[in-house]
């Protein structure tokens, strides 16, 4: 297994190289630059030139890339053009916020969607199945920002139960942090429940048609045991793949939800950096995201054998 992990990490390096080169080139192809944004409507070409020189933006693109890549090899992602802070510090400050919300949302979505999907499959074509499928279609049709705003309106404005903005770390203040997490976690989970429940339902239906399930039932095993002990492990594989993809996607920044709920997460950092043309931060964030995807998918791959003994790494 160790050689498999090492191989996967090595395979990530060329991916990261390609990503870094693409990101570096693409962000500079977009019109606009950080100096123009900082100076705004004041016309002072001398000051603009001086700032470009200070920030190294007057160098040729290959020189800029070589400088950035050279630092990268030493583990230095550069410093923010706007704030002068190390990019790695910014990422490390913002990522735990995203991770906390996203992991909680994925856990909540899994806890609801997996049983719901299995239940729908078990009751296939009956009213219970129809209810779950309709609910999933309804939830998948709701844009997450709209769900977020509605939750804020209901629980923040009308009922005045929960804060409408802000964030506190669970690790730092413990249970009181929950009140800041509830709405964003629910908003994210609502849309994820739909995808997961549908995948779980489909894979469970397939598994329930297999002969070994009929055999288990013929042995007289209780239906609950058939479902949980025999059907679940095999049906869970495809859902695990979806969880991995969703997790990778969300961990790389749930920018919309972070904006609606004012969470200082990775997605907002990236969006703000793009708007400000803060090149080092954009490059650093996207490189981090690329590695994150590789890592999450690696973890998912490593988990497969736990549920399906036929899979060997």
């Amino acid at each position: 297994m160790l050689s498999y992990v090492a191989k996967r990490i090595l395979m990530a390096i060329p991916t990261a190289l390609v990503v870094s080169l693409l990101v570096f080139a693409m962000i500079r192809l977009i019109p606009g630059d950080p100096v123009s944004l900082m100076l705004g409507d004041t016309g002072d070409p001398a000051l603009a030139q001086e700032m470009r020189t200070q920030l190294g933006l007057d160098l040729s693109l290959p020189q800029q890339f070589a400088g950035w890549a050279g630092k990268l090899l030493h583990g230095d992602l550069g410093t923010s053009v706007r704030t002068g802070e190390p990019v790695l510090d910014l990422i490390m400050e913002r990522f735990p916020v995203t991770a906390q919300i996203v992991l909680a949302a994925t856990l909540l979505a899994s806890l609801i969607a997996l049983p719901a999907g299995m239940f729908a499959a078990w009751k296939q074509n009956r009213w219970q199945d129809l209810t779950v499928v309709s609910g999933a279609i309804f939830l998948v049709s709701i844009p997450s920002f709209w769900a977020g705003i509605m939750l804020i309106w209901l629980f923040g404005v009308q009922l005045d139960w929960l804060p409408t903005f802000g964030f506190e770390s669970f690790a730092e203040i413990g249970w009181p942090a929950l009140k800041y997490m509830v709405l964003p976690v629910v908003a994210i989970a609502l849309t994820e429940i739909a995808a997961l429940a549908r995948m779980m339902r489909a894979s469970t239906i397939d598994v329930l048609r297999l002969e070994y399930i009929a055999h288990a039932r013929a042995k007289g095993l209780p239906e609950r045991r058939v479902l949980l002990r025999h059907a679940f492990p095999n049906a869970f594989g495809p859902a695990l793949t979806v969880i991995g993809l969703v997790l990778g996607h969300l961990l790389s920044g749930a920018a919309v939800i972070e904006t609606v709920f004012t969470l200082p997460g990775l997605g907002r950092l990236l969006v703000e950096a793009i708007s400000a043309r803060d090149y080092p931060v954009v490059q650093g964030c996207l490189l981090f995201v690329a590695f994150l995807y590789v890592f999450v998918n690696l973890v998912v791959d490593l988990l497969y054998p736990l549920f399906d003994p036929r899979i060997k790494l």
Binding site: D33, G40, D41, G43, A46, E93, T164, F165, P264, E272
Partner: protein, 514 residues
């Protein structure tokens, strides 16, 4: 069966009863902002309006802006100006202390000025003192612990205003604001608030400074007596709908409301209309083959029913202002109210004179500033009605700023941020486009009028000069100034003492919270 304590169950119960949603501390005023400040250094090159809004509570200059945008005493009790207008002598106020308890002396004033002028300090304001923009500071010395002299290379009638400018103040700071290597740490100023906790992307907290000694004069703008009656928290809420929700639920006390979707009328809050100095305009590129013709630019201007456009876009909270001199300020006179009057018959003649054959004219705008988008859309409709084939191009703000700075546009809906004096605004607009593409109007005669009043302090002479420049501008039609942005500031009725003003950075000193 043995029952065990389940903390999650208790938490869920508390959540359901709302017990965890504690209201903010009653002694803390919360102000919502759309974006975070990138820096805690006043006048840093990356500063934004929030930086300015925070710093006006934390730092002070020798003089301070009054409500009429003149200057009053602050850290300096008095000052004299030499007859040649080049030497300023300031007498410092006694008993003022920095937030670290150290007394304010002339040494810190000189240190603060020298720091702005040091290129390593990355100050956005250096060009105001090094001669790039206006007069150059040739000497600054401490004559006594309470006396400072600043010498300029030439007279500058706006020098005192420059010291008090909220974007680039001469913020008098304690040297401990930087580390031994000169790296910026945090502002240690003299204002009624101390810089407290800063959680990036979340909030900046300012704490009432108990050692603050208010000036004896009554409050006036940023001058006069200032008292910190509650702590402040500037919270970052990027989404406008979320800001509104936070305000309506009482979780923040003050927001700048969207003009098209303010909070509904309610007994719990008041909505103030602030007449700001920001100037919304349609810029026209005179280097464009089509718009280089004065007849074409004039045809564009006379196609627009500008009073109707302003009334529609601002819900009649302000009126059409054709001048770069802001409405309602001391330099505004009836001459500045004379602008363009829609005349479609004349437009037809002007288009024929310009040889216009239905070419497309593109109006660049963005959606980050909804006013600019709406100006472009309404202008497009009016131009089309007048026979000009206008199209709207919506750009991302960074792209639009870049195009503005490079002069890459035909017509652009654009906003100029507030300038304290019309001379500064005209100075930024006038110039040689081939050298500075941000210049919108090349007129050597207007530039000469402006240069003549650089050292003139007489208000009547300055007012007359601005009238002359305005008349020349309307005649040449290099751009179409439309209105000064009104801002809707929603303020909770739990706050008392809030007074709106034209610089659109809320002043929270002398404001208390029930």
């Amino acid at each position: 069966m043995k029952r065990r304590f389940r903390p999650w169950a208790l938490s869920a119960l508390l959540l359901c009863t709302g017990a965890l949603a504690a209201p903010p501390s009653p002694t803390e005023i919360r102000i919502a902002e759309s974006f975070d400040t990138p820096t805690s250094m006043p006048g840093h090159r990356s500063r934004n309006t929030l930086t300015d809004g925070i710093m006006l509570h934390v730092v002070e200059s020798l003089v301070a802006l009054k409500s009429d945008l003149g200057v009053g005493p602050m850290l300096a009790d008095s000052w004299t100006i030499s007859p040649d207008g080049k030497t300023y002598r300031f007498k410092l106020r006694h008993g003022v202390r920095f937030h670290n308890g150290a007394p304010v002396t002339s040494a810190e004033v000189i240190w603060s000025l020298n720091r702005i002028m040091d290129p390593r300090a990355e100050s956005y304001c250096r060009n105001q003192y090094d001669g790039s923009k206006g007069a150059k500071v040739v000497a600054a010395r401490a004559d006594a612990p309470d006396a400072v002299t600043i010498e300029l290379d030439r007279p500058n009638a706006l020098f005192l205003q420059q010291l008090a400018n909220i974007q680039c103040p001469l913020a008098v700071l304690h040297p401990d604001s930087v580390d031994a290597a000169g790296k910026w740490l945090r502002p240690i100023g003299t204002g009624p608030y101390m810089f407290g906790q800063w959680r990036r992307g979340q909030f900046v907290q300012l704490l009432a400074w108990p050692g603050y000694q208010p000036r004896p004069e009554p409050p006036d703008g940023l001058a006069g007596a200032k008292r910190a009656l509650a702590n402040l928290r500037f919270v970052v809420i990027p989404d406008a709908a979320s800001q509104k929700a936070a305000f309506m639920s009482g979780q923040v006390d003050l927001i700048t409301a969207q003009s098209d979707s303010p909070p509904p009328k309610a007994p719990l809050w008041t909505i103030h209309v602030e007449q700001n100095l920001d100037a919304n305009a349609l810029l026209m590129q005179s280097r464009d083959p089509l718009l280089s013709k004065p007849a074409m630019r004039r045809a564009v201007a006379l196609s627009l029913d500008l009073p109707t456009l302003v009334a529609a876009l601002t819900n009649k909270t302000t009126t059409y202002n054709p001048s770069l001199v802001p409405l309602g300020t001391a330099n505004y006179s009836p001459v500045h109210a004379r602008g363009y009057v829609q005349d479609l018959a004349q437009v037809k003649a002007l288009l024929a004179e310009a040889g216009y054959k239905g070419e497309v004219v593109t109006i660049q705008t963005n959606k980050r500033f909804p006013d600019l988008y709406r100006i472009a859309v309404v202008a497009q409709s009016m131009l089309r009605r007048a026979g000009i084939h206008a199209v709207v191009e919506v750009l991302e703000w960074a792209t639009q700023v870049s195009n503005y700075r490079e002069g890459k546009f035909q017509i652009m809906a654009f906003t100029y941020s507030s300038r304290l004096d019309p001379a500064v605004m005209y100075g930024d607009v006038l110039g040689d486009k081939s050298r500075t593409p941000t210049s919108q109007w090349t007129d050597p005669e207007a530039s000469a009028i402006l240069a003549r009043i650089a050292g003139v302090s007489d208000p009547a002479q300055r007012k007359a000069a601005f009238e002359q420049i305005h008349q020349r501008m309307i005649a040449a039609t290099p751009m179409i100034e439309i209105y000064n942005t009104p801002a809707l500031v929603a303020v909770s009725k739990r706050l008392s003492g809030f007074v709106p003003w034209s610089l659109h950075r809320p002043r929270l000193f002398n404001v208390s919270k029930r």
